[in-house]
């Protein structure tokens, strides 16, 4: 008789794993925190497909459950680097949030990935109200929602509750941008709440929220479950809109310049690999694993290809550039994009505008570190900043153009915004 070799699985599920703490002399172990999202692809691919190892970097990837944890564990030296929302380093530079310790972003993890989903019920109401056939663009959908909100208000109904991920997130600013483009005031006409992305489908089907803006694959999951209807994707709002970055402590970058350079080279190679459509099935399979996204490989693959079912009725949409991991300098940390994030923080009353505040933002994104590692290549931009949204294929949904040199003039062009209230006094208790 022969025995089948098998072990009893003793692993116990835990949301937060402990990172390795031993770092021996000479090895370039980099502890990296990440949130299970498709836009962590470049970081995961660097570790899984040998790009980091080739540069002599060993990535210790630690899955986490909240952006607040990511921020704190980076600040408290539990991580060396982390997968972060692009607005997080900007918020830190401005002293915003409950732990604004310095974070810099030397590398952007690519473009794309977000979408806005409404509950099927709310979308059907938009359809009925504005006579939508289902093929309308994101702006038309926003305007239809405005009509429904006006009707709700005059009927005395509760206004829609919309979920996003974090106060300093691309999702918050994109959702607000889309709403405002449709004439909806995000602070008066709807209620914005934070919902952890894996819980969005449940929250939607339970009626706790009426829509949300989160990253992939959660919008598609909501449609697959028959509870959500995608009404806009990031590309509809602004294709170049910054999404996730690699964040690190400035002091870690200063103490480990060689490791950081190698890491950037590894991430660059991984990003180029992720951009090749033929590699995306293999990428999807790894991302889908339990230790990463713990999601359906089939959905992740379709998401990576930008093939969506946007409505449970089977309506399809293809967005070929839904994820750009590398092309067109997708990894370059444009300081103009950090300034755009700052402009949105001002627009929505998170911080007041001042020229010196705008200068503070310059410490958040570090194109100089990106160039140090990859500078000799011809596709590395020469400038740190540019006018955003001016290119034909890279416009904002409302046709505005962002000039980082004149933020007050840019903001003066928006009718819908929220002013910054006064901050309370500080005393020791």
């Amino acid at each position: 008789m022969s025995f089948i070799r098998t072990g009893i699985d003793k692993s116990q599920g835990s949301g937060v794993a402990a990172p390795a703490t031993i770092r021996s002399e000479g090895t370039r172990l980099v502890r990296a925190g990440f949130i299970p999202l498709v836009d962590a692809s470049v970081l995961i691919a660097a570790s899984e497909f040998g790009f980091a190892a080739r540069e002599g970097v060993q990535l210790d990837l630690v899955k986490d459950v909240s952006w607040a944890n990511i921020r704190d564990r980076l600040a408290f030296r539990q991580f060396d680097i982390a997968h972060m929302l692009a607005p997080m380093p900007v918020a830190s530079a401005l002293g915003l949030g409950s732990n604004p310790s310095p974070v810099i972003a030397p590398f952007s993890l690519g473009r794309g990935g977000n979408a806005i989903t409404l509950s099927v019920q709310l979308y059907r109401r938009c359809q009925a109200k504005a006579d939508l056939g289902g093929r309308e663009n994101a702006l038309t959908n926003a305007k239809a929602l405005k009509l429904v909100i006006e009707e709700m208000r005059s009927n005395g109904e509760a206004l829609p509750v919309l979920g996003m991920t974090y106060p300093f997130s691309s999702h918050n600013y994109e959702l607000r941008y889309w709403l405002a483009a449709g004439g909806i005031h995000p602070d008066h006409d709807v209620k914005l709440v934070v919902v952890p992305p894996p819980m969005t489908s449940d929250a939607l089907s339970a009626g706790a929220i009426d829509g949300f803006c989160v990253g992939a694959p959660w919008n598609m999951v909501a449609v697959a479950r028959g509870v959500g209807r995608i009404v806009a994707v990031k590309e509809d709002i602004w294709p170049s809109s910054p999404e996730k970055v690699i964040g690190t402590r400035p002091e870690w970058a200063e103490q480990n310049p060689e490791t950081l350079s190698r890491l950037i080279v590894a991430l660059d190679h991984a990003a180029a690999w992720c951009d090749i459509p033929d590699n995306r099935r293999e990428l999807a399979q790894v991302l889908a694993e339990q230790r990463y996204l713990d999601a359906s490989a089939e959905i992740v693959h379709r998401v990576l290809l930008g093939e969506f079912t946007i409505d449970p009725d089977g309506t399809e949409r293809t967005v070929p550039e839904y994820f750009s991991f590398h092309r067109d300098a997708a990894n370059f940390p444009w300081t103009s994009q950090a300034q755009w994030i700052f402009s949105q923080m001002v627009r929505w009353g998170q911080v007041a505008y001042a020229p010196e505040t705008s200068r503070q933002v310059l410490t958040a994104f570090r194109p100089d570190l990106y160039r140090n590692a990859l500078g000799s290549r011809s596709d590395v931009p020469v400038d740190d900043l540019r006018v955003e949204g001016g290119a034909m294929d890279d416009g904002f949904i409302d046709g505005e153009v962002f000039n980082p040199q004149d933020i007050p003039a840019y903001l003066a062009g928006f009718d819908i915004q929220t002013s910054q209230p006064k901050s309370p006094e500080q005393t020791e208790i």
């Binding site: 008789m1 022969s2 025995f3 089948i4 070799r5 098998t6 072990g7 009893i8 003793k10 116990q12 835990s14 949301g15 937060v16 402990a18 459950v65 909240s66 952006w67 607040a68 944890n69 921020r71 704190d72 564990r73 600040a75 408290f76 030296r77 539990q78 915003l96 949030g97 409950s98 732990n99 310790s101 991920t165 974090y166 106060p167 709440v193 934070v194 919902v195 952890p196 894996p198 819980m199 998170q350 209230p421 901050s423 309370p424 500080q426 005393t427 020791e428 208790i429």
Partner: protein, 202 residues
């Protein structure tokens, strides 16, 4: 979080947010024993925002594994009239207590400006109670798995006794010998036997 007038040293108001009721009550008890009588325990995220607004805690102790921390961040961003809460620790140079807290799974918010000697004992208490709780949980899991292992070994013995016509002692000896040869745990080998039998039968 409520603003308090400087100089007035009222008892600190502490909120424990933990979906695990048992762990929350263990921490609550510890804090009460240490003389804190303004302790509130919240289990459910629904209504948490309102509770924070009404109670205005000076310290919030929260499980680090809950994704709801991001919801709190949003809440703190919105409530501007109140004191600014800061994440986790009063003294960020104290890296050993930070590490201990993260390892124990504790996170906390503390109103800015609160003296660290007032907060540290609270956090230390939460950390030690979190640790005690996971130790208990581990002991329980170990006891459970020891029981499971014994059950599976019994089943494997029974299978071998029947299929190989062995005595109970010989069946056990065969399992042990195989485990030693294959450098595996006895329970793992027993599991293989049970699986193999199930497949052959099925």
């Amino acid at each position: 979080m409520h603003a308090q007038k400087s100089g007035m040293k009222t008892a600190l108001s502490i909120m424990i947010f933990d979906e695990n009721r048992i762990r929350a009550s263990i921490i609550e008890e510890g804090l009460r024993e240490a003389g804190h009588d303004r302790v509130v325990v919240i289990h459910d995220i629904v209504g948490l925002a309102r509770q924070i607004e009404v109670i205005g805690p000076d310290v919030i102790v929260i499980d680090i594994e809950t994704p709801n921390r991001d919801m709190l961040e949003h809440l703190f961003q919105l409530t501007r009239s109140v004191r600014k809460p800061i994440a986790m620790f009063v003294d960020r140079s104290d890296s050993s207590s930070i590490e201990a807290a993260v390892e124990a799974g504790v996170s906390a918010y503390v109103v800015d400006g609160l003296k660290k000697e007032r907060v540290k004992p609270i956090l230390d208490m939460a950390v030690s109670r979190f640790k005690a709780f996971s130790r208990l949980q581990q002991e329980l899991a170990d006891a459970k798995s020891a029981l499971e292992e014994r059950k599976i070994i019994e089943r494997a013995k029974g299978i071998l006794m029947k299929s190989r016509k062995l005595s109970e002692d010989d069946a056990y000896a065969l399992l042990r010998q195989t485990a030693m040869n294959e450098k595996k745990k006895l329970a793992d080998i027993a599991q293989s036997v049970v699986m193999a039998a199930a497949i052959l039968e099925g």
